[in-house]
Amino acid sequence: MTTTVSATAALALGDDALVLSHRLGEWAGHAPVLEEEVALANIALDLLGQARVLLSTAGDEDELAYLREERAFRNLQLVEQPNGDFAHTIARQLYFSTYQHLLYAGLAATDGPFADLAAKAVKEVAYHRDHAEQWTLRLGDGTETGHERMQRACTALWRFTGEMFQPVDGLDVDLAGMETAWLESVRAVLHRATLTVPEGPRTGAWSAGAGRQGVHTESFGRMLAEMQHLHRSHPGASW
């Protein structure tokens, strides 16, 4: 393996996990039911654990998390999208954890640099995926309000899903096969939830789909400002 190539991939996957973990952490104290306080925090912790391993293979985890500028982050735009209502959070979880589950299952089967991490993480992510699917069913096939909100969320985030299958240097997986499997799985869940599969494009105009190249959406800068502020206010301090 060549270090530089796998560092690029480690940053892409590590930033996905770091940023989504942060967004889920924003739910603490605001969840709709106590069981979800536990579940969302649990998923956030799993992702943070993955992020720390991945970022550490690319450099110092704290330097990478706290001292990079927005344009240097390589996460998908999907994971940085604000939480919105619970339906938006669940739609984001459904799209991402289905992708991450397929990706880690694929990586675990290789003998590449991410095989060990993927083999461990795929078990956690299976649970994240199940959690998202179960909630998609409950919101989509529950009350009318639940159905409307879930439909709106799935549609709103649809255009951020194409980027997941863009090639990343150092990620040796069958992206085309993954995309087919992803579409099949998400369609099946939405169908069972009595939701309509969104029809719009899966990448937007010039910017959507460019997170892997360091082009992000507006809310991401604010998220980083909050995340990095304390660390940056005390240069060189240890915590």
């Binding site: 605001h30 709709p32 306080e37 536990v38 912790l45 919101l139 529950g142 009350t143 240890s238």
Partner: protein
């Protein structure tokens, strides 16, 4: 529910002779340090005291998530962020155990949450203070969780079984939190001058409210005597407060921090640290709702609950439809009774 039915059968009996026998059996069990279990007969006042105390404890866990969650998104290292997230998650878990333990007495979580939201039940006043800096996360762990443990360890031997068992698990996790808070402050105390100042400032602000967590002095404590007889409570407020002070003084020295009390000194004769007078006016004001964050904490709790209503309703509608559905093809909107 079988448990509630059994209690009703015992608890509402008109037969005073029988009640007398039950009461004697209850008193004997408590005196012999046996555990009272959900199906056992118990005096109504014992039940009410337990529900009040367990509810207040559960509410404190979930309201207590707020001041710490306030720092999750700003935690200064990924390691600290993981520790803090896990801690706030533990508190949600403690809330779950305690609401479940209260359910064994025939009171539902919804009922208790309603009472919290409408202000009819309280939570620990300590959470009405704000977390102003990162060091407050450490001070809460060291002092607030430390005080909570001092209060709660004796509850592991509480006469009511489900509460005692929940407390065993909670105390293990709390003592972990207390050590994490101490370790956070230690890192700040040994850090830059700015970090040290941040830690000292946090300890200055949290010390006195932590001492108030043990409740009013023994001669003014409304519920103490009866709770001691029932072995819900094992030590007096002042005893526990003194125990806490004695533990904290040497720990503060190890941290390189001072405690904001000029009267604090070792009393050879008593074998304890003497400490200065507590401002009970402040305690009463915060209890009455005039603390810095009372309004904010309750507003956020109510808002989370109200904004989550549609989620809970949708889940309930889904569950109802999928346990009763026979045609397998109804669409949202068809079962009118479950619509929001």
């Amino acid at each position: 529910m079988a448990t509630a039915a059994a209690h009703q059968a015992y608890g509402t009996t008109e037969d005073t002779a029988d009640t007398g026998a039950y009461e004697r059996a209850f008193d004997a069990a408590v005196a012999a340090d046996e555990r009272i279990e959900p199906r056992d007969w118990m005096p109504d006042a014992y039940r009410a005291t337990l529900v009040r105390q367990m509810a207040q404890h559960a509410h404190s866990e979930i309201i207590g998530m707020q001041p710490e969650a306030n720092w999750i998104t700003r935690a200064p290292s990924l390691r600290r962020k993981a520790i803090l997230m896990a801690k706030v998650q533990d508190e949600a878990g403690h809330g779950l155990y305690l609401y479940s333990a209260a359910e064994t007495l025939g009171t539902s979580r919804d009922e208790l949450l309603d009472k919290l939201h409408s202000g009819r039940q309280k939570y620990s006043s300590i959470f009405n203070y704000p977390t102003l800096t990162w060091a407050d996360v450490g001070a809460i762990g060291w002092l607030v969780d430390g005080a909570a443990i001092t209060n709660q360890v004796p509850l592991c031997r509480c006469s009511y079984g489900p509460y005692a068992r929940a407390m065993v698990r909670i105390c293990k996790e709390e003592s972990f939190h207390q050590r994490q808070g101490y370790e956070l402050l230690l890192a700040l105390g040994r850090g830059t001058p700015e970090q040290h100042a941040m830690a000292q400032d946090a300890v200055n602000r949290w010390w006195w409210p932590s001492l108030m967590m043990f409740g009013p002095p023994d001669d003014e404590s409304a519920h103490s005597a009866q709770s001691m007889t029932w072995k819900i409570k094992r030590h007096s407020n002042d005893e526990l407060r003194q125990r806490f002070v004695d533990i904290c003084v040497p720990q503060a020295e190890s941290l390189g921090l001072t405690l904001p009390d000029p009267d604090l000194r070792w009393n050879e004769e008593r074998g304890h640290y003497d400490f200065g007078p507590i401002d009970w006016t402040e305690f009463k004001e915060v209890l009455k709702g005039n603390g810095p964050c009372n309004e904010q904490r309750l507003t956020q709790r109510r808002r989370a609950h109200e904004e989550g209503a549609w989620v809970r309703e949708s889940a309930a509608a889904y569950a109802a439809r999928h346990t009763s559905r026979t045609d397998g093809a109804s669409k949202p909107g068809e079962t009118g009774a479950t619509r929001a």
